[in-house]
Chain length 489, copies 2
Amino acid sequence: MTQIAAIIGGGVIGGGWAARFLLNGWDVRVFDPDPQAQRKINEVLKNARRSLPGLYEAPLPTEGQISFHDEISLAVQGATWIQESVPEQLDLKQKIYVSLQEHCSKLAIIGSSTSGFKPSELQQGARRPEQIMVCHPFNPVYLLPLIEVVPSKKSDLKIVERAENLLRTLGMYPLRVRKEIDAHIADRFLEAVWREALWLIKDGVATTEEIDNAIRYGFGIRWAQMGLIETYRVAGGEAGMRHFMAQFGPALKWPWTKLMDVPEFTDELVDMISDQSDEQSGMHSIRELERIRDNNLVGMIRALKAQDWGAGALLKVHDRLLNEKAAMAFTIDSLDLTAPIETVRRAVPLDWTDYNGHMNEARYLQAFGDATDRFMEIVGCDADYIQSGGSYFTAETHIRHVDEVHAGQLIRVETFCIEGAGKKMHLFHQMFEGDRMIASGEHMLIHVSLKTRKASVPASHIVAALEKVVEAHALMPRPDGVGRMVGKK
Amino acid sequence: MTQIAAIIGGGVIGGGWAARFLLNGWDVRVFDPDPQAQRKINEVLKNARRSLPGLYEAPLPTEGQISFHDEISLAVQGATWIQESVPEQLDLKQKIYVSLQEHCSKLAIIGSSTSGFKPSELQQGARRPEQIMVCHPFNPVYLLPLIEVVPSKKSDLKIVERAENLLRTLGMYPLRVRKEIDAHIADRFLEAVWREALWLIKDGVATTEEIDNAIRYGFGIRWAQMGLIETYRVAGGEAGMRHFMAQFGPALKWPWTKLMDVPEFTDELVDMISDQSDEQSGMHSIRELERIRDNNLVGMIRALKAQDWGAGALLKVHDRLLNEKAAMAFTIDSLDLTAPIETVRRAVPLDWTDYNGHMNEARYLQAFGDATDRFMEIVGCDADYIQSGGSYFTAETHIRHVDEVHAGQLIRVETFCIEGAGKKMHLFHQMFEGDRMIASGEHMLIHVSLKTRKASVPASHIVAALEKVVEAHALMPRPDGVGRMVGKK
């Protein structure tokens, strides 16, 4: 049954949560008295639809239904997850919990997006404090995986564990905070940097743009993949973390930072910062900046995915989960061999398009390469087999680009096996967007020994599986386009 | 004439500087009394050679010569740039300046890698304080572009400007710090986060791994592309930076962080942190972690390059500079048309390899696509022309994979134009590594109107240029492999 998420408060953060749930197949009910809420959430959804699906190699589930409600009771009844993202006023949050707990299930997860309050503060005055916890996300919620999950001593740990498991099915990373503390973990770091930045701007040491450049051209890129400690471990070199601390430790006594001392938040300081920010970024609207940001994040997270590291490694795990859910048939025995085999079903990622505004030609071959990998897996040439020293290398490829396709569109590849005997495997892939055939790829692959890098005969289970597919596919008419050469029919 | 950089102190940072200079064609002279210096620098160089060249689409200049010297005088004589990266002891640094200024040119740039000291402190006791400045890099120096350039009031601004221009030719980003201050800019932020992290670990709120995850799964990825302020500008939404500050400003008065209060640096705390770090990262050696880090950085910086943003935008500028230096002939008139045209010369980037350990099949097509783009540029279908509404789309491709190639190897593509008349352009690319022909790509392209997305006749200057190339190339024998189809000669 489709699960329901209630979104209480529909700004940028609530909208981001709504997008995460919806695009992962949940139904979403929004409660927000702001007459602009629907417009705001739709804008976040638009950004999410353009960037999230293409992060994955697997297709996301069918999108859920979103509805908007004037009564909090209608939003929370039957909801598995209730996410509160209203302004940071403790009494407002507490009032909302009182009101929604009259109508929601005792088993529902009530998560707060608060960046500052502790769960024990949120729980005060609540009818059932045990189901309330902090689930603090990071903007854009539809792309960044981190959720700080903070229970208090009153929290029901079974509900907390259920929340963490559900977050993983949404592709998120629940970081359980061991002890409740103001601002949890990440925002304490952000607050520290923000305070120091205010001083630097106020004292004329650096402008807003210089501060941003000092971050993004240096340690910011490092922190996207290893955090503070692992980076320092590497910096310590062969002598390791202990050596690093021996070097850096005493520096802590130096009066470098001004951090507890807070500059007066005067009109002059606010003007200075917002004027500098206008000069730095004012050439782009906020919408443009959001899209630029999302393009960058998608590209970088996918780059990390190729390395199976950091946020990219999380994404890989979620991809595997989605693949299982999509119930794609992996084994030769469970497949219908009387038709071409579906080997790819995915959205075109943002980073696959080029200056012509469409999917770049090399990405067609990338998708066909993925189709070949999936087909290899089906006939038994999987990761374990490759580990044991055998694989197929592509010797020759012919691609026809029949039609264009754009970021976000769903493509699928159907694979026809023309020949598969001895060292050879001859495949013909057709790529579709909806009913449109947009490209074909014909490939000759040669089985090789990864030790000698020379052609070799595959293992017997692969020979047998290929034979079975070739026999079945030989009964179908050959697809149009097989055996073409460039420039001639 | 080849320029000379003197590297005073050859640890991880000095080695990173050596690599930047060497791989950008400078000769490097190292002075470091440590008997391990040569080994340490060679290890950094190995990492740099594997990761830096492939960042670019253009080839780097021929690598310079490195030499090791027992006398500081021999290292600094004739050097344009002298970079000091010795341990953070002010008196040691000051003594070194006195000693090297006896032998170096008055015009030489003397940069210090210090992360803490102010230039006015470094200059005390120096014979010519005006040529000493802070040039503070970030590890790994061969990949991260940021250099904090800090002059004092005594600094000669002409020397400072020359330093900044030279840094740009090395692909680095000089950030001029307006007023000298302890720890410059970035390290003040790092120090703030480090202090807060020590408290969180000490108080049992988070482990080292949890702290790293709180950074890299959330704001770390954001900061790799937009810094602190631009990120908050976006978070403020349509109302912008002023609105964000109105919301967030008062939070500064809350007692969130413990930052000026420094935990006792006891043996227990050092043990706790290094034990946690071992548990988190101990399964990888430091060398492995360095390579993982470099793979990640290369992938992410190249992803940003595709978006022309942040560190990727800097890289694009440097690429253009390198292309001009490599003196690649861009115009039809300056080209030798009696031979195939060189359209690509580049190193294979780290992120182009796959689970088989060699360049992935799709990247062959990407390189051939780049070759096609370069050829289009040569015949006048350049960025301006595409902007005006015409372009070529690939209709059909045939690739023969003849041999493997690995990350870091230099590949080049030679392009032969078979046909170029009416709407058609028929190209044959051959890819080489050294003398090895490793692949061929045959492509039929169709000229299109970007408005109608339909085939159309190109502008007359393109027609004329193509005619000229085709006529010249028709006098050469056709390369072996033209007109092949998959599986048949």
